[in-house]
Amino acid sequence: MAKATVNKIISFSSVDGPGNRTAVFLQGCGFDCRYCHNPETIHACIHCGECVKYCKPGALTLVEENVRAADQRTGRKRVHYDITKCVFCDECFRHCPHGASARTRELTAEQVMREVRRNKPFIRGITVSGGECTLWRDFLLELLSLAKAEGLGTLLDSNGSYAFSEDPELMAVTDGVMLDVKAWSREEHLRVTGQDNACVLRNLEWLAAAGKLTEVRTVVVPELFDCRQTVREVSALLAGLGCLDARYKIIRYRPMGVREEYKSLTPPTEEFLQKLVGVAVGYGLSDVVVV
């Protein structure tokens, strides 16, 4: 069974898709968005041990790495995480010099499913998010297949860097994708995320046409990119494909969780956000919300 690095599992989430869902956050992301609210999910831990110094309850410890062959030791150290001791004070990743989090667990799909099962009477499905969940494609396929077999809905929350159209096997067990669309122009997208957006836009079109687009999200940071252009182009594209009931979630940038060097970005005004809503509604979108 494939394992993934799981950053956290939220048993009841009201913000990761329709209804009550268990949200599974996987570690690692190919984008490096300046306004990222969870920058600790971007990189993988390199086990330098810096965070251990700041872990007061002793949930993080530096242990000697065990290699597979019996009794062979490399002498290398690993950061070990004990979730039962963790008080979620976030001190570890606040002090991480690599933009990573050691507060993660390596879990198989079945192990994750075991945690999902406790919530089953109260949830309508699961949402796998990140980081970027599609970096763990094989794990994802197993987890979503297990969830589907137990009658749960399955959603992915993605930055759009994975070509969904080329993976019918994964799409068969995915009810829908909640897609982040950031800057519309390639140049701005590069500046905001460090990556090209051609794949994101292809995904937007393909998912909408395939009836797999549950939600589009745009985090509004006016001084970073032309937000109005994004909202306009996304709305026009959805309207053109007759995909009017996908939710468009317009997200207000807030400095919470954002890295120090980007914290100075200005949050948008309510007036500006309402203008964006007006644009989307003007194209006939029926479910536009601001959060």
Binding site: S11, F12, V15, P18, G19, N119, P121, F122, R124
Partner: protein, 555 residues
């Protein structure tokens, strides 16, 4: 026999009178009025010191700047009632009830010492609208305006412990038939005015209306108006069954995010225990329509635990003893009410058949299970806490089983409606409670991090309480954009025999205190020394200060 006793002209003992009443009361009411029975003698002696103390309390009520006129009248009536010593109480009662608040094991919730009306009265409103009332000089209600007016008149004539009606009807079933030919705007305008009148004249939020489990046009319109008005009165419950459409529940959730109501009741569960004729009254009390509850006393489990040496002593000696004293006290209150007070003979509600004595029961209440469990475990050197450990929760279940078993073996002659037993009730607490959580709730501030763990704990306890229990969850604002989140939690909870749930938005002005609703803005006025309209605002303010109700974990 009745006629012979009448002819003799002799006075008969009250007990025999009650028996005659049971045999003949309803059909020979006028003959019964001729029968003489002996007046009870005073049971307890009030010393001059006690009388002086009571006079002081009366004076304090008269000059209290934070009480409105109506509130003073209610309190003064209670003071007067408490000069009476007509109840033949169990000898052990005084040391368990009339004692210091930190050692009090039984509490009668300010019911007076000479009960002259049942605590909760839930009248048969459909009969009233259908037939009118001779006493109120009203005929059948023929249209919507008449129905609303007649109900309002009736509300003013229903006593209860609060002197206001605690149940004002299944509004959808009662009023739905009258709106068939009216358009939405007309209905909403009339409802807006009517509900405002209810809020401004029923000055106590222990006043409950019900809708569901069927969706109805009236139900939708009611919730639309309620979310606009954001009033604390009346409280509202939506009964939810498997057949209740999602859309109707969602309308309820959206309304609750504005006005903290409706709450959601497990229809299948209540129906299986109380039958089809049940209603939700006062806070969240399951009772019979056309009946109600004679009385409610409560065990203060947290204090009862203090008296025990350990878990075993608590289970085998201390708890059964207090249960026994409280049950005998309740028996005596019921006896006085039924046999002596004359309410069931003289009130027009009984005379005209809007209530029937044999549809009344009584509520055997309790509070502080969490603190009781924690204290007992501490006495055994264990630091595990209620709501957080299987051992603690299991002890809670064992204690509930003992109380349930006691109640099922206690016989009361006047509780025919519920097989001659009382109904257990998880009481919501009063403002003077401290270190004592409502019913079986997990203390505020100690709620499990995950809502799923919270729900899995409460499901262990809801099944014990046909006459009411419930848990309250303030929810994060983002839920306004995703009311289906709450819908999923409701569906999941009712599926695992959770009985009753309430939600409100964490920023709402109307909030649920422990079972009843108050407005934050009104509490602030009262806190600043002004008097306010509703009795319950004062209770809410006390609860905010003593019971941390503003600090619940937001979900």
């Amino acid at each position: 026999m009745l006629r012979r006793e009448l002819r003799s002209g002799k006075t008969i003992p009250a007990e025999r009178f009650a028996r005659r009443y049971m045999e003949n009361g309803f059909k020979n009411r006028f003959l019964m009025n001729e029968l003489k029975y002996e007046v009870r003698v005073m049971k307890r002696i009030l010393t001059p010191e006690i009388i002086e103390e009571k006079r002081k309390e009366i004076y304090e009520t008269i000059v209290d700047p934070t009480s409105s006129h109506e509130q003073k009248v209610t309190y003064l009536a209670r003071h007067a009632e408490n000069f009476m010593t007509v109840l033949d109480e169990p000898e052990e009662l005084d040391e368990l009830m009339r004692c210091d608040i930190d050692t009090r094991c039984i509490c009668n919730l300010f019911e007076g010492d000479a009960p002259y009306r049942p605590r909760y009265i839930c009248i048969d409103f459909p009969k009233f609208l259908r037939e009118g009332s001779e006493f109120l000089q009203l005929g059948p209600a023929k249209d919507f305006a008449e129905a609303l007016t007649n109900l309002m008149i009736m509300y003013h004539n229903i006593p209860s412990i609060t002197n206001y009606p605690v149940f004002i009807g299944d509004l959808d079933e009662l009023l739905g038939p009258y709106i068939e030919d009216l358009d939405d705007e007309t209905v909403k305008k009339a409802l807006r005015l009517w509900l405002t009148m209810v809020d401004r004249t029923i000055l106590d939020s222990f006043c409950h209306s019900d809708i569901g489990p069927k969706a109805s046009r009236f139900g939708y319109l009611l919730m639309e108006v309620e979310s606009e008005l954001e009033n604390a009165v009346p409280n509202l419950t939506m009964r939810v069954s498997k057949d209740t459409p999602d859309d109707f529940i969602l309308a309820g959730v959206k309304c609750a995010l504005h006005s903290a109501k409706p709450s959601f009741a497990n229809d299948e569960m209540f129906r299986s225990e109380l039958g089809d004729d049940y209603c939700i009254a006062s806070c969240y009390n399951g009772l019979l329509k056309g009946g109600g509850s004679y009385t409610l006393s409560r065990l203060i489990l947290s204090n009862i635990a203090k008296k025990a040496e350990g878990i075993e002593d608590f289970k085998t000696n201390v708890l059964p003893h207090v249960c026994d004293v409280m049950a005998r006290y309740m028996d005596e209150r019921i006896r006085f009410l039924v046999e002596e007070s004359g309410w069931f003979t003289n009130s027009f509600l009984a005379r005209e058949g809007f209530v029937r004595r044999d549809k009344f029961t009584a509520m055997f209440g309790l509070v502080g299970l969490a603190e009781c469990v924690n204290l007992l475990l501490e006495k055994e050197g264990c630091t595990e806490r209620f709501g957080h450990s299987d051992r603690a929760n299991q002890l809670g279940v064992e204690i509930m089983d003992i109380i349930d078993h006691f109640n099922k073996n206690h016989y009361n002659p006047y509780c025919e409606a519920t097989d001659h037993h009382f109904l257990l009730h998880a009481q919501v607490g009063i403002e003077s409670d401290h270190d004592c959580s409502p019913g079986t709730r997990i203390p505020i501030g100690e709620e499990p991090d995950e809502l799923v763990d919270h729900l899995n704990c409460i499901k262990l306890f809801h099944k014990y309480f046909p006459s009411g229990t419930g848990d309250i969850f303030p929810v994060d604002l983002t839920v306004h954009k995703n009311p289906q989140y709450v819908l999923d939690i409701i569906r999941g909870s009712l599926g695992i025999d959770i009985r009753y749930l309430s939600f409100y938005a964490s920023d709402s002005d109307v909030i649920r205190v422990t079972g009843y609703l108050v407005k934050r803005s009104e509490m602030e006025k009262l806190d600043a020394g002004q008097n306010v309209r509703q009795n319950t605002t004062g209770l809410g303010l006390g609860a905010a200060k003593n019971c941390k109700i503003l600090d619940r974990r937001i979900r």
